[in-house]
């Protein structure tokens, strides 16, 4: 299934007052995982190109939709902020507001398994290995 929304429209809306909101645990996850304490912090972060290497994952139907006659789709993306991988899911509601359903750290991203600290230590270990001493 292709993405339901234009990603740029979502990014643009996050920069406009009252056009996007966070629901469920997304505000708390953004706080705990990314240090973005307020809803405004999250929206400003997104609107100011904070989502690096955003990558479309999939689109699913919003299961809790009370009006099943009009299905609402939810787009999911992975992204990075620096070295930290994240996961984002959003939809456009019938009230014409962008709804951020998920904004959290996604540590299982296969693209970067090693943390920078571990990568650096692996390099040191390699440099100090016996074969290098000879």
């Amino acid at each position: 299934m292709p993405n339901a929304y234009q990603f740029d429209n979502f990014i643009h809306a996050c920069g406009e007052q009252g056009k996007a909101v966070l629901i469920g645990s997304s505000a708390n996850d953004a706080r705990m995982d990314f240090g973005l304490n307020t809803q405004q912090d999250v929206l400003s972060f997104i609107a100011n190109d904070g989502l690096e290497e955003a990558f479309y994952i999939n689109t699913k139907i919003w299961e809790k939709n009370p009006n099943q006659a009009h299905p609402i789709m939810v787009d999911a993306y992975s992204f990075y902020s620096g070295a930290k991988p994240g996961y984002l899911a959003f939809s456009l509601s019938p009230t014409n507001k962008w709804i951020i359903k998920s904004f959290k750290h996604s540590p299982n991203d296969p693209k970067r398994k090693l943390s920078p600290a571990h990568e650096a230590l692996s390099e040191i270990k390699q440099l100090m290995s016996p074969s290098e001493d000879k």
Partner: protein
């Protein structure tokens, strides 16, 4: 005007509060009561009346001010003088005293966190951020971290860093009275160090 659910547009909302603690870097957690609106039609929840941001901003402002004081006190207790910090970082005199007594900007707070975490960065700054000093201090501090992290079975650790304009020489030595480790798990390994202590 009634608050509406931004997801489905219903006004059938119930409001509750939940205690939350926000992490404050180098400070005490800041507690606040989070307002949670729950829609009885679509069952989604959130801060639909947009009340939490103002509360969070208010408590974080006070908590960050306190953390700035904590960081400056810590540095002072470790014999790092404000005048030294100001001189090495080319800050106007009394800047840090002003941050402590009055308000500390977001940029000031970020700088204090860096100095509090890596106090030796001041020595690098004091040497005009020269690359050899930056490199040697970094490696020296990395050596200290490794030294402290080495398993107790290892003794006589020694770290030497020599540098000039062209070369950087690092020598970390450690030895043990135990000639062979009875268990593979007891052998010093960098993974153990970073997981256990860094």
């Amino acid at each position: 005007m009634n608050t509406l659910c931004p997801v489905c547009g219903s006004d059938a909302l119930t409001t509750s509060t939940k205690k939350h603690a926000l992490t404050v870097i180098y400070g005490k957690p800041a507690e606040y009561n989070e307002v949670v609106d729950t829609c009885s039609v679509c069952e989604e929840s959130g801060d639909f009346s947009d009340l939490n941001d103002a509360t969070i901003n208010q408590i974080m402002k006070a908590a960050k001010k306190e953390s700035a004081t904590n960081m400056l006190d810590y540095l002072s207790n470790h014999n790092i003088k404000m005048s030294y910090m100001e001189r090495s970082l080319e800050l106007p005199a009394r800047t840090l005293a002003r941050w402590k007594a009055e308000d500390c900007s977001a940029a000031g707070l970020a700088l204090l966190r860096i100095i509090r975490t890596y106090p030796w960065i001041l020595e690098v700054a004091d040497d005009s951020f020269s690359q050899p000093t930056a490199s040697s201090r970094l490696v020296e501090e990395a050596g200290h971290v490794l030294k402290h992290a080495l398993p107790r079975k290892v003794e006589r650790t020694e770290l030497n860093v020599l540098h000039n304009n062209n070369t950087l020489q690092v020598n970390i030595q450690f030895s043990s009275d135990i000639t062979s480790f009875p268990d593979k798990a007891l052998e010093p390994a960098f993974e153990q160090m970073i997981e256990g202590n860094v």
